[in-house]
Subunit: 519 residues, 2 copies
């Protein structure tokens, strides 16, 4: 039987990948690095240090500059002893020798890095659709022609940023959450925008036919052109080789100045596969994030798939794995948990560690300034269809005003919901869903929250304000009492607002209420 | 050109038909008969005098006895000079001779009746479905075997009444308004009930697919078996020849002790056709109820179809005719208007008569103790489907609680609605629909009316309490101030409650509030 490795003082931890989840892990381990209990090297393939990838879309439409993406203070890290290798690609993880073979992405100089423990935080890569006119050969010099882009890195976003700056025509291929968000943002910034989607309705994975039809209609009313049931066939290019139009299977062409490919992501599993680790949709880890039997290799974030195959596991009853969720919050919680585990081991702390509970975050909330949409959980059927015993569905649709609220209640508890144009009802449903608190018997009372007399949103100390970082209103209030007086100070102190930034309004509200007024 | 006939004093008016509409017409003309200004003969084919046909279903389930159906005081009528011929069938209306040829329904003795004016108020006859095992030959001695019945007369209702008295199994063929009402009433009285309907959902003409699916489900939850999409083929009979089961085209049989055929009605047009009058769905009349160019023959109630074919008619813009509505109220309003017209002519009153506005009563409200359903107007499409400019649809469905509210608003005004299990929202929508008052922008506020805190229904003096007789709350309040202290006294004085009886609760409420308490 393979012995499980117990980390010791002085061990070298190699963090492969330099996205937001890797940054959070390193942040949490900084004290142990500074005290010399842990050696830590973080290896990233990009030339820049870890940044807030969640905001690349905002950057792409010109709402942020590069500083707005920053996640870490490199000088602080290196002064505490963290080794940072950017522009460095891992080619092979040799688990028997406990060495990572790496190569400089520019010079192609190879090297090896010894390790005692390794964490794979390599994230996911954008899917490239099969389209004539772009080159899907990963060995090619440039995968994508000018004006055709994914949205993973600031470099990716450059074409979009340039097009938005001159109010160019933006074509988005793929009407998932990120595609719709970037379409709405570019449109809000003044660009003519077309979303081309292969299914009958946008956000196909997160919503149902009725809410999808409403959503299509609301986007169209906002002025975003929505082309559904569209099979994209070819990228047409102008004389300079740059994007000119997207040709569909039915012969139509959608013209534009830039094409954003938003066709989902796939976990990066190459290193794990090369190391003989189990891979399903992602790198398979158990509920303690272990990817190997020795517990020397861990994986977390978008590259990992929690798939516990022990039928007697008390933490993972009937667990099924799933792909990346495109949310930074769950990965951050994994990073925090793994840091606690490693720190406990380094301290020889024998106490039980609170188990990492995988979050049931099959819920989304669209980030857009003029459109509110959220959904989560089970969207089973329509209210007029037969339901399993104990389950009921309620639906409100106001076609003229583009509003919808759907709730699925099982045994008195919300197990699924959709809200469109009803932010407060949506927030309440999300809360009921997450908390498992009893749902109101008459679900129509939720509609009052968004009525003219619905009143302001009430934040209790326990209300989660920042969903990415998991920060409660009470924590933010304490930070404000402790001296924070700006959104930035609150973010630095509490991490609220460090993710997608969607909670900025709530943080501003707390600041208005709590900061003593001058004079 | 044919001269329009002007009624004169002493004219003989023949009223053919003796249903509630004929009774109301005679009631209104009683003063002229008593004063000798008019001779009036009413001819009915049934052996009994006019009764409240609307309540035959209630009678059939044993909630009323025959006295409860009474509509008139025959002694009073005859003492004032009304001639009443029951058991008398009109075989031919000879318009050139101005004679009705009649025959005694028992002795078959023929006779003729001279007239100056004639009113056809012969109503409609129940449709008989084509089923093996029943004899659709009108010449046969008995059209229907024992245990198979329509619900037009108290005699029809005898089999049902007997079956309900011993809690027998009731099968209703036809899930229209009357079929569903009798099914619910029989079930409320303790009978096992099955409704067999040929379309996918009940009340097919009055509702849409979604509300229909909800309605099917709500009836099933109440314990009424609903068999939809069912093609009835054959009536199976026991050794005595009585009803045993209904066989469907797919081979299934629905067993029961009594079969109620509720398959709609057809206007009785035989006399009009024989008299060479124009007949479409019903006896065609213009908006002044004239069936002939001379204005000697009138028709009203369920046998008449208002179909003004004068394109320049100021009263009937774009009028299209329609079949009988199964409501007594519009026929009563026609009777009252025609009485006013005749009385004005007899008085040589040259003043203009307020035109008869055909009521837009394509709305229904189901009479049932434990189920509230109403619908009216245009039910166009679903809220998530594209609508014509200016039109919006809103929908609330709570599947678990069996509640639904749909509203169709065009240019700010309700043009259609459905309510299920939401009586106050339904009443408000019916009122908004009828009045053309502006609808609330946020239609979800209507849902609050049926909430726990919706408060009691507010009756203003102008609120219509009795929809059949068109009696406002103010009229009832005055009657109570004037001394009425029971529902029966209010009915006699104001006619409120003289139709379907659905307003009894509201009348009781007014009595509770307004009758001075003893002591």
């Amino acid at each position: 039987m393979i012995q499980k490795y117990e980390p010791r003082r002085g061990d070298h931890l190699l963090v492969i990948g330099f996205g937001p989840v890797a940054v959070r892990l390193v942040d949490e381990l900084l004290p142990a690095v500074a005290s010399g209990d842990l050696r830590l090297t973080v290896v990233g393939a990009e030339s820049r240090v870890g940044y807030n990838r969640v905001l690349v879309g905002e950057y792409g439409v010109g709402r942020l500059d590069e500083d707005g993406l920053a996640l870490l203070d490199l000088e602080d890290w290196t002064s505490r002893g963290v080794e940072v290798l950017t522009g460095t690609e891992v080619t092979w993880l040799d688990r028997s020798a406990r060495q990572a073979h790496v190569v400089d992405t520019v010079t192609r100089t190879p090297a090896t890095l010894d390790y005692d423990l390794v964490v794979l935080a390599v994230g996911a890569r954008p899917n490239l659709p099969v389209l004539r006119g772009i080159n899907p050969d990963p060995g090619a010099a440039a995968l994508l022609p000018p004006g055709v882009t994914v949205l993973r890195t600031p470099e990716d976003a450059a074409d979009l940023r340039e097009a938005v700056a001159r109010r160019g025509r933006v074509v988005v291929l793929g009407g998932g959450v990120l595609g719709v968000e970037v379409a709405l943002a570019a449109h809000e910034e003044g660009c003519p925008v077309t979303v081309v989607h292969h299914r009958p309705w946008l956000l196909t994975r997160s919503t149902d036919a009725i809410a999808g039809a409403m959503l299509n209609g609301v986007l169209a009313r906002h002025g975003v052109e929505v082309v559904t049931d569209a099979v994209a066939k070819e990228v047409l290019r102008d004389a300079t080789g740059a994007f000119r139009a997207l040709r569909l299977a039915d012969g139509r062409t959608v013209e534009g100045d830039v094409l954003v490919l938003s066709c989902g992501v796939t976990p990066r599993t190459r290193i794990a596969e090369g190391a003989g680790l189990r891979v399903a949709r992602g790198i398979v880890v158990d509920h303690e994030l272990e990817a190997d039997p020795e517990a020397r290799v861990f994986a977390l974030g978008d590259c990992a798939e929690v798939l516990c195959d022990d039928p007697s596991c008390p933490v993972c009853p009937a667990r099924v794995g799933r792909g990346p969720m495109g949310l930074v919050g769950p990965g951050w919680r994994q990073a925090e948990w793994l840091a606690r585990r490693l720190l406990a081991a380094l301290r020889n702390d024998p106490g039980p560690l609170e188990p990492l509970v995988e979050e049931d975050v099959d819920s989304i909330r669209l980030k857009a300034r003029r459109l509110d949409f959220g959904a989560g959980g089970l969207l089973a059927g329509e209210p007029w269809q037969p339901q399993p015993a104990g389950q009921g569905v309620a639906l409100w649709v106001d076609g003229a005003r583009g509003k919808l609220v759907k709730s699925v209640v099982r045994d008195g508890v919300v197990v699924g919901w959709i809200s469109l144009g009803m932010p407060r009802a949506g927030a309440e449903l999300a809360l009921l869903h997450a908390s498992g608190r009893p749902a109101p018997v008459d679900l129509s009372v939720l509609l009052r929250l968004d009525g003219a007399d619905g009143g302001e949103e009430e934040l209790t100390p326990a209300s989660t304000v920042c969903r990415c970082a998991g920060v409660a209103a009470g924590t933010i209030s304490e930070a404000i009492s402790g001296g924070c007086s700006t959104v930035e100070e609150v973010r630095t102190t509490t991490r609220a607002g460090s993710g997608c930034g969607g909670c900025r309004g709530s943080v501003e509200k707390l600041l208005r209420e709590l900061v003593p007024q001058a004079g």
